[in-house]
Assembly symmetry: C2
Homo-oligomer: 190 residues x 2
């Protein structure tokens, strides 16, 4: 998605530790019209594919999952980190290791919101080491649901996790796929 | 908003401890078309009022803030709980006590995303004791920005925090205002 690549080049900042900061439009601050454009692009990519639910992990994925759900007219579900007091005890869970925070956390989805009849599209803002996606895939498998694919805004292609998923037959669509990233510049996969 | 009241009566569940569970359409699972209707209702309520930013707190407020931002074509910003590694050190912060989790947490907004020229609309899923809103108001004041109002999906009116804010001159619009709530039923303010 050319508009996303241009926005990353214009507003993104590469910080030490392979961190790409896109807080001005995709994370802490969300450019609403642009978020909705991304949602519509995801809907276009999956136009011919059965999708009954969008799934993400709180909290940075929620904005894109909501926009994709609105564009596709299907519910979006977000996996919670840790167990919440308001969450039913009847949950699917998976463990996810976060390289950013250097800790393992649990993600959980109430069983009532995912079932065997669901075709689930995973949506997230970033794909780096793939751990969050693997956790969501585990939850989808536990629910007996079908994984329709993974729609990601920004893939850090140089970390290899996206290509590994593709090699396993998982459909992964990244709207911006970064092949190399340093503080002096970025290159996108052609 | 009649449609929200009806949805609460149909799908909401009152749990012990004054908890209203609306996870099937407003929290863990989001009814996308309905979330967008709420966003459009908020845009309609604030049609004549200058609003440059929507502000919420992660993570349950994000979906509504995104929908309102999309409907109003203004950016939405979410305050993070705790300080994140990806967040600039230049932040506005406030302390918020959560009755649900019985702990105090910090909320933070990077200074680059709120400024003196902003007219800020606070959006959240619930208004109960008002602590999250007071925290956001403190951040808006620190930024020297103007508070346009608070647009809330569900206000627990019987807790009194919303009326206290109104008595202080703060504009608070709740799309469903619950005056009493027990496990056997709910009544909305006429």
């Amino acid at each position: 998605m050319k508009a996303l690549e241009e926005k990353i080049l214009r507003e993104g900042k590469v910080l030490p530790g392979n961190v790409l900061k896109v807080g001005s439009f995709l994370n802490q601050q969300m450019d609403s019209d642009f978020i909705m454009e991304i949602g519509e692009e995801i809907a276009r990519l999956y136009a011919g594919v059965p999708v009954t639910k969008v799934l993400t992990v709180e909290s940075s994925g929620i904005a894109l999952a909501v926009a994709a759900g609105i564009a596709m007219h299907v519910p979006s579900v977000f996996a919670k980190k840790h167990r919440s007091a308001n969450l039913s005890k009847e949950v699917y869970t998976a463990s996810v290791y976060s390289f950013t925070h250097k800790e393992t956390y649990e993600i959980a989805v109430a069983k009532e919101y995912l079932g065997a009849g669901d075709h689930v599209l995973i949506v997230d803002d970033f794909l780096a080491n793939g751990n969050a996606i693997r956790g969501m895939m585990q939850i989808i498998a536990e629910a007996g649901a079908h994984l329709a694919g993974c729609a990601i805004a920004i893939e850090k292609g140089f970390q290899g996790a996206g290509d590994k998923l593709r090699a396993e037959g998982v459909r992964v669509d990244s709207l911006a796929l970064i092949d190399s990233m340093t503080e002096s510049g970025l290159t996108f996969r052609a």
